[in-house]
């Protein structure tokens, strides 16, 4: 610990703390612009200058580490004058005329800093140099005229996302923010995660959708989670008059630490589908708007006649974007009360079933957590594509590459991480079992095995040949994972789970399993992970919500004579239905979700649905009442009944 004095306050902080963080911890306010708590200090804006006793000049507090007996003053005339001067220079550089800007009036950190220093005018006028505006991106406008060169966006793009799209061209006052090698942002390697917009202190990076739709003080915000995939990122949903304005990553969320992907940040704003506003019932061959009472009656009549134990010819499918409460009620109604022959998720356990079975066969969870990726020195991605469908998990991997993380990809198909990998193994026509055997032989040959195996080193050559790869391919790959101190294997539920687990044990690697939908794991825990097989079903209930039904599934279900679909949007699934219930979207409902690492989180409603639109949960209760059934189970117990691939937090 180091002891120092800031503005007469004696404080103790750990060694290596910056003066700025020390001051903040002591409640001393130092204005900043380029500083961001989630980014490494940069020392670019000089607004945080402080007086340090013994130092020749004012020092930037954000980059200066504390030292013992340091005496810091943050509010001397010299410091206050310097702050005004720093702001004067920033304002003089570009177009900072507030009335034209969407963040003016509370959301601009530059303007707020000027107010804080009581600046009534600019002592120096701007130099009137126009800079380029890049409006080529679908979500983001890059307005260099308002840029203060703080490089928060550049750091966020590199440090948080690992994408390194943004950078600066030219020097000094001519510096301009560019994408890649100076190409339009919309044609660049940008992955539309929105981190740059979220960290921009001024109006230089404009979110097209939310710009000019109200300042943060005028917006309502709901702290909730994204249900785009099984990562379960913490988000803040900003609304105004019950309309969606913006979604930000929640900096305080332990899972994602503020990071989001395109799906979490921008996709909810681009809703283009037709919303279903009222229940519909098929009459004389075509779907007609109906009252809830009519639709519930039609649905219950259709189901009542089939109700029978132990097996009735009903198929019931629910989306994994629904909360556990709803999935649990769904299971109760259809499996326990109506005796449906098939109750599963629309995902059919595709992303979980092998992992769940593997856990059950050994009787204990075997997967690690996302934090294992943060602590890892070598990651192997096996037949999963996190950068494509679990982007934030992909960012976690990519952003560690510059600090030395080794990355391996084993995937027969093209993988978004291929280019970033130290080694991407592309086996030919063979089973993955052979690939793992060859890898095991390579590990044995290298003498790096941490466990026992029957496979011998001299099998490597023949095994490698069998998979269409060279022994060197395997030795290189095996070395990177087996020589690592904290190796992690990221995978998606696979039929090769046994080989994978064996190999992971051999090299001492932790397994992190991606799970598909937001509640795929919860659905699996409730045994809703069976695959669909047509079985002369007479009726089907498809609880889709705002999810989509695959074309394959639509084809499978088409021939069932009586179909009830609850969905938010019109689709080929609702078009074939006999009864349609309108459903809330994820923003219009709440409930619990279990993410890929077994964290149970609650999502909260941020938008109120139209009166005629109900949650699937409420619809199930209404339907049960109609059928004379009482739903009263407790999901919190059911969730833990089955052994899970990853320990589920209680």
């Amino acid at each position: 610990m180091v002891t120092l004095t800031i503005d007469g306050k004696k404080i103790e902080v750990p060694e290596g703390t910056t003066v700025l963080r020390a001051a903040q911890s002591a409640g001393v306010d130092i204005p900043t612009l380029c500083d961001h708590p989630h980014l490494t200090p940069y020392g670019g804006c000089r607004l945080c200058l402080v007086e340090v006793e013994g130092a020749r000049t004012l020092q930037p507090s954000c980059t200066m580490p504390v030292s013992n007996n340091m005496v810091v003053k943050t509010n001397t005339k010299k410091v206050l004058d310097a702050r005004k001067f720093v702001l004067t220079l920033i304002f003089s550089e570009r177009n900072h005329f507030c009335p034209y800007c969407q963040v003016s009036g509370g959301d601009c950190e530059l303007q707020n800093a000027a107010y804080h220093e009581g600046m009534t005018h600019w002592p120096l006028q701007p130099n009137w140099q126009p800079y380029p505006v890049d409006a080529s991106h679908p979500y983001i406008i890059l307005e260099n005229n308002r840029c203060i060169l703080c490089r928060r966006c550049v750091r966020a793009c590199g440090e948080l996302i690992g994408n390194f799209t943004l950078g600066f061209e030219e020097r000094g006052a001519k510096s301009i923010l560019v994408a890649d090698t100076g190409i339009p942002l919309g044609e660049s390697t940008c992955v539309s995660c929105g981190a740059c917009v979220q960290v921009c202190p001024t109006g230089a990076l404009i979110d097209r959708w939310s710009a000019y739709r109200g300042h943060d003080v005028a917006l309502d915000s709901t702290q909730t989670i994204c249900v785009g995939c099984s990562v379960g990122c913490g988000i803040k949903v900003f609304t105004r008059d019950n309309n969606l304005v913006r979604i930000d990553g929640d900096w305080d969320a332990s899972i994602n630490g503020g990071v989001l992907c395109e799906i979490g940040h921008f996709e909810p704003m681009t809703e283009k589908c037709d919303r279903i506003h009222t229940p519909m019932v098929r009459k004389n061959g075509s779907l007609k708007a109906a009252t809830w009472e009519e639709a519930l009656t039609a649905a219950s009549e259709g189901l009542q006649s089939l109700k029978g134990k132990p097996r009735s010819s009903i198929a019931a499918l629910i989306s994994t974007r629904q909360p556990v409460e709803t999935i649990h009620n769904f299971k109760q109604l259809f499996e326990n009360h109506l005796g449906a022959a098939l109750v599963t998720s629309t995902e059919e356990g595709y992303y979980t079933s092998f992992s769940s079975l593997a856990a059950e066969s050994t009787g204990k969870p075997f997967e690690g957590k996302l934090s294992d990726i943060h602590n890892s020195d070598s990651v192997m991605v096996f037949e999963a594509d996190p950068l494509k469908d679990h982007q934030v998990a992909g960012f976690f991997i990519k952003r560690k590459l510059p600090s030395g993380l080794k990355l391996l990809v084993i995937d027969k198909s093209e993988n978004a991480l291929d280019k970033a990998a130290n080694k991407a193994l592309k086996p030919g026509k063979c089973t993955y079992e052979d690939v793992f055997k060859a890898l095991t032989a390579a590990v044995v040959k290298l003498g790096l095995a941490k466990g026992k195996t029957a496979i011998k080193a001299d099998e490597l050559h023949s095994l490698a040949e069998k998979t269409g790869l060279t022994t060197d391919d395997y030795l290189d790959t095996a070395y990177v994972i087996a020589a690592a101190e904290r190796p992690v294997i990221v995978y998606e539920s696979t039929e090769n789970i046994a080989s994978l687990k064996e190999f992971a044990a051999l090299v001492g690697a932790k397994l992190v399993g991606l799970k598909g939908g937001a509640n795929s794991l919860a659905a699996a825990q409730l045994n809703l992970d069976k695959s669909y097989k047509s079985d002369g079903f007479k009726a089907a209930f498809i609880a889709l919500g705002d999810d989509e039904l695959s074309q394959k599934m639509v084809k499978e279900l088409e021939s069932i004579p009586f179909k009830i679909v609850q969905a938010s949007y019109a689709s080929s699934a609702t078009a074939m239905a006999d009864v349609v219930f309108p459903s809330t979207t994820w923003l219009e409902q709440g409930g619990h979700y279990v993410n890929l690492e077994g964290t149970v989180q609650e999502a909260f409603q941020s938008i109120k649905p139209a009166e005629e639109i109900k949650t699937i949960g409420d619809t199930l209760i209404a339907l049960s009442t109609k059928l004379g059934i009482n739903l009263d189970g407790d999901w919190t117990k059911e969730l833990y009944r089955r052994i899970s691939p990853v320990e589920i937090a209680r």
């Binding site: 177009n95 005329f97 507030c98 009335p99 034209y100 003016s104 009036g105 303007q111 000027a114 107010y115 009581g118 009534t120 005018h121 600019w122 006028q125 701007p126 009137w128 140099q129 126009p130």
Partner: protein, 180 residues
């Protein structure tokens, strides 16, 4: 003590700051009690007394030689000069044209505009003032009090005028300080 004399005028602005002044409702009567309101663009007397006034208030930036004259005349006839609103303080909306040359701006306005036909031409009568780069008031004459805002709120204007009327220099800060 005689009531302090106040004159106002506008230059390259939109008159919005004067509208905001009027927006102070019945408090304008209080101002009238406290000060001797001399010339303003919205009253009969248009030019500040040659004998001088105590407080001069200017709205708008300076975008031509005529504005320059107005600024210099006000400065020479008042003791305390107030820059009222973003245009007077920073240059404001008219200053957007500083990112272009004057020739480009004139061509856009008089020749290329959607409402001009082929015969459009840039006025060049020697009687007319000459357009210049848009400047904030303090780039042309020294300013004593800056009141930013687009427009400054009626509350802020009332505070500024009542402080000046009572012989104090207003300190525009906190909730009275806003640039938009």
């Amino acid at each position: 003590m005689a009531k302090p004399k106040v004159s106002t005028d506008w230059m390259a602005g939109c008159a919005g700051c004067h509208m905001s002044l009027l927006d102070m409702d019945e408090r304008i009567a209080k101002i009238a009690e406290l000060v001797d309101l001399r010339s303003t663009p919205i009253t009969d007397l248009k030019v500040p007394d040659e004998s001088g006034v105590d407080v001069g208030v200017l709205e708008g930036g300076i975008n031509n030689t005529s504005n320059e004259e107005v600024a210099h005349r006000m400065r020479s006839r008042c003791k305390i000069l107030v820059a009222l609103g973003d245009c007077a303080v920073f240059g404001g909306v008219p200053a957007m044209r500083n990112f272009f040359t004057i020739e480009e701006s004139l061509r856009r306005a008089y020749i290329e505009s959607e409402s001009t036909d082929a015969s459009g031409k840039i006025p060049s009568d020697p009687e007319l003032c000459k357009p210049t780069r848009v400047r904030a008031l303090h780039e042309v004459v020294p300013v004593d009090v800056f009141v930013p805002g687009c427009p400054p709120s009626a509350d802020t204007i009332f505070y500024v005028l009542s402080e000046l009327a009572q012989g104090r220099i207003p300190d525009v800060k906190d909730d009275k300080l806003s640039w938009y």
